[in-house]
Amino acid sequence: MAGYNMMRCGEFRTTYEKDTTIFPTPMSRNFAILGVILCIIAPLQIGDFSFISPAILTLMIQIGYMSIGALGLNILVGFTGQISLGHAAFFGFGAFASAWMNNDFAIPVFFSIPLAGVLTMAIGMIFGLPAARIKGLYLAIATLASQFILEDFFSRADWFTGGAAGALANPFELFGYVLSGDRKYYYVVLAYMVVMYIIAANLMRSRDGRAFVAVRDHYLSAEVMGINLTWYRVLSFGISSFYAGIAGALFAHYLEYVSVESFNLLLSIQFIGMIIIGGLGSVMGSLMGTAFMVLLPEVMQEAAGLITSTSWGNIAAITEGINFLKEMVIGASIVLFLIFEPDGLAHRWRMIKAYWKLYPFSY
C-alpha cells in the first residue's frame, strides 16, 4: 500500500519528483510540521502550569521509542515482505549494548545510542542470513530461534548484560550535561523519532526502498530486473535491527535499568501487533499502531479503576478478576480490530481525510 494516496480531482503528477515526494500535498506537510511543533510544546512547564500530566508524558515517551522499533519491523515486514518473530531480542540487544558501552567503556550516552544501533544492525544481519534461503512460515521459525538464542545469551552473558540481575543504565548525558527527568528525556526521544521517521520515509523513495517493495510484491520479477534478493533481504534485516537497536537504547536510558525480562517473545508479538494494527507498509501507520497498543492497556486500567470505584463494582468477584478481565478485553479488542479494520489505522486515517476533503459531497 506504499505510495497509495487519495488524490484530489485535477491533481496530476507530471514529474517523477512530484510522484515520489514525501508529502503529497502542501497541506499534509504543514500538518506534519504542526504535529511536531505541538509535540515540542506539549511538555513545556510554565510556572505551575503544564499542558500534560507526568503520567501522559511517560506514555508519550513510551510511544516514542516503541514506534521507532515498530517502524523498523514495518520496514522488514510491511515493505520487504519478510517476517521476524525476534524483533524484541534485537530491541533488547540495543538496550544492553548501549548500557554496556556506557558502563564498561565510558562512552557517553550521546554516542552509545547510535553505536548500539550499529552493533544491533550487525547482529541483525547475521540472524537475517537464513532469509536468503527460506521464506514465509519457515523464516518465521528461523527468526523465532534468534529470539531464544539472544534471550538465553542475555541471561548468561554476565559481562555484557549483568546476567539475570540486569544492568543499570545511566541517564542521557550530553558533554557533561546530564538530562535527567522525563521532561528533558522526552526531547531526546522526540528528536530521534523525527529523524528516524524522516529517514524511513526517504528510504522508501530511494532505489533501495523500491527494491524492498519489489522483493515484497514479486520476488521473481525483482530478481529478473536485477535486484540481488539475498542482499536486499539481509539489508532489510539489518535496517530493521538498526531501528530496533536505537529504540532499545532509548528505552534503556529512559528506564535506567535493563533486564532480560523485558525482551521476551510477547514483546516481539506486540511489535507485530503494532504494525498490523497501524497498517503494514505505512510509515505513519507504525506510529498509529504503537500509540494504539501503548494506550489500550492504560485506558483499560482507567476503566478498571472506574468500575472498582463504584459501589456495584467494588465486590470481591470483580476486584479480584479485574486484572484478568483487563487482559482479556485487550486481546478481544485487538481481534475485533483485525476483523473490522484489516488495513490498519493508516487506512482509516486516509478515509477520514478523504471524507473531509470531499465534505459534504463524499461520494
Binding site: 539475570a164 543499570l168 528506564l255 535506567e256 535499568y257 525480562e261
Partner: protein, 424 residues
C-alpha cells in the same frame, strides 16, 4: 446549550478543587504486588495483609491523623514494569513504598536512595541490608531499604543448621547438600551464603539445580537430584513452583529432605502438594494465623476490618508486620520534624528489639541501625506436617482444624551478627 456547558464546567472545577482539598489530608503509600505473575500465590496473601492493615489504620484515625491512600499496582513480577511504575509514583509524590520482588527491589536501590524514599520490600535479599555499602558483597549502599524478617541468607543458614544436626543424629558421615532455584535474582540471592555455610558446617555441596519459578513438570530436575545422591536440598523459589517440584520429586522417588525459605512453604502449599510436602523444613518470619500470642487479637481485628476471611496463609502476617513497622516509623517522623523520607528512615532506628505496638508475638523483635539493616538475626525454624493428601474441596482452616495439615516449631536459631555476613 451554553448554560449547560457553563454549568458543567463549574461543577467539574468545583469537584477538582474539592478533590485536591481532600487529597491534602491523605498520604499516598505505594504498594507493589504480583497478583498475576509467577509469585502470585504468595504475593496475594501478603498484599491482602497490607491492604487490610491500611483499612484498619484508616478506620482508626490513620497515620498521625492522615488517611492512607494505598495505591496497589500489579506488576506481574516484571522488574522493568516495576521501575516504570516507580517513576509514576515518584511524580505523584509518594512518601513511602511497600515493594515486592528481589529483582525490582535491587534494581530500585539506587533510585530510592537518590530520591530519599523509604522502601519496605518483601524481598529479604541480604544485599538490601547494607546501608553504607561497606560490604564487598553488595553492589551499592541501600540506605533506604528495609524489610521485616530474617534475610534469605540467614533463613537458609538457620535451616542448614537444623540439617547439620539432623545428619549427625541420623549418623550420615558425609552429608550432601544441593541448592535448587531458578536463575533469577531472587533465588540467587541466598545461593552463595547457603552453599558456603553448608560447606562450613560439614556438608559436601553438589552442583546446584535450576528449576523455573513458573510451575511446571520438574521430573528431570528431580531425577538429577536423585542421581546426585544429596540427602538435603534447599528450594529457593516460591510456593507455586515448590508444589510442582515436591510432587515431581515424590513421583520419581527422590528421598531427599527438603529445606526452603519463607516464601516456599505455607498452608496452601501443604494442601496442594499433599504428603509430598510432609517434613519440609522452613523458616517463619511471623506467627501463623490463629497462633496463641497476644498480638493475634490485633491481627484478627485487622482481618475483620478488611478481607474478613476464615484463615490467612502465613504471608498475611508478614504483610501486616511490614506495614506496621513502616507505620510506626512514619508516626515517629510526623512527631519529629515531618514525614520526610529521611525522618521515616530515622524512625526505624529509634528503638532496639522492637515490635510494632499491638503485634507482640506476631512480628519478631527487630533492630535497625544506620550501619546495619539486618533487622532480625533470630529465625524460627518450622517443619510442615501433612498426614494425607487433602480433599481439594476442603478449606485450609478445616484441614488445619482436623489436623490433616499443620506445622511444628523445631527450634529458634540465633545467628551471630558477623560483620562478614553483612550483605552476603
Amino acid at each position: 446549550m451554553r448554560k449547560l456547558f457553563t454549568g458543567l464546567l463549574a461543577t467539574t472545577t468545583a469537584m477538582a478543587f474539592a478533590g485536591s482539598a481532600l487529597a491534602a489530608d491523605k498520604i499516598l503509600i505505594a504498594n507493589l504486588a504480583d497478583l498475576t505473575g509467577p509469585t502470585a500465590s504468595v504475593s496475594i496473601p501478603f498484599t491482602e495483609g497490607k491492604k487490610d492493615a491500611a483499612a484498619y489504620i484508616n478506620a482508626h484515625g490513620g497515620i498521625a491523623g492522615m488517611q492512607i491512600d494505598l495505591d496497589t499496582v500489579d506488576y506481574g513480577y516484571k522488574a522493568p514494569q516495576a521501575i516504570g511504575q516507580y517513576k509514576k509514583w515518584k511524580s505523584a509524590g509518594v512518601k513511602v513504598i511497600q515493594g515486592w520482588g528481589t529483582a525490582d527491589t535491587e534494581a530500585l536501590v539506587g533510585f530510592v536512595s537518590r530520591d530519599h524514599i523509604p522502601y519496605y520490600s518483601a524481598s529479604y535479599s541480604a544485599h538490601l541490608q547494607d546501608p553504607t555499602g561497606k560490604s564487598e558483597h553488595t553492589k551499592k549502599a541501600a540506605p533506604y531499604n528495609f524489610f521485616a524478617g530474617p534475610s534469605y541468607s540467614d533463613g537458609a543458614r538457620a535451616v542448614i543448621q537444623w540439617a547439620a544436626a539432623d545428619a549427625k543424629e541420623k549418623g550420615i558421615a558425609k552429608p550432601k547438600f544441593v541448592f535448587m532455584g531458578d536463575n533469577h535474582p531472587y533465588p540467587n540471592a541466598a545461593k552463595k551464603a547457603a552453599e558456603s555455610y553448608a560447606a562450613e558446617v560439614g556438608f559436601e555441596v553438589g552442583n546446584n539445580i535450576v528449576y523455573s519459578m513458573k510451575p511446571g513438570d520438574f521430573k528431570a530436575q528431580c531425577l538429577s537430584l536423585k542421581e546426585s545422591g544429596a540427602q538435603y536440598a534447599y528450594l529457593a523459589n516460591t510456593g507455586g513452583s515448590g508444589i510442582s517440584l515436591l510432587k515431581s520429586c515424590k513421583s520419581v522417588g527422590a528421598e531427599t529432605q527438603f529445606l526452603t525459605n519463607v516464601w516456599g512453604m505455607d498452608e496452601n502449599v501443604m494442601k496442594a502438594a499433599g504428603t509430598a510436602a510432609d517434613g519440609v523444613v522452613f523458616p517463619m518470619g511471623a506467627a501463623a494465623y490463629g497462633a496463641d500470642v497476644p498480638g493475634m487479637k490485633l491481627v484478627k481485628e485487622i482481618n475483620a476490618a478488611g478481607s474478613n476471611a476464615d484463615h490467612h496463609a502465613v504471608h498475611y502476617m508478614r504483610g501486616i508486620c511490614s506495614f506496621y513497622y513502616m507505620k510506626e516509623a512514619m508516626e515517629w517522623a510526623a512527631a519529629n520534624g515531618g514525614m520526610t523520607g529521611e525522618n521515616i528512615k530515622k524512625g526505624m532506628y529509634q528503638k532496639k528489639n522492637w515490635v510494632p505496638a499491638g503485634l507482640e508475638g506476631v512480628c519478631p523483635p527487630g533492630t535497625w541501625t544506620a550501619e546495619d539493616h539486618r533487622g532480625h538475626m533470630n529465625v524460627y525454624v518450622y517443619q510442615a506436617n501433612v498426614k494425607k493428601d487433602a480433599d481439594p474441596n476442603a478449606s485450609v482452616s478445616d484441614l488445619l482444624k482436623d489436623g490433616t495439615i499443620g506445622m511444628t516449631k523445631l527450634f529458634d536459631a540465633e545467628l551471630p551478627r558477623k560483620p562478614e555476613w553483612l550483605g552476603l
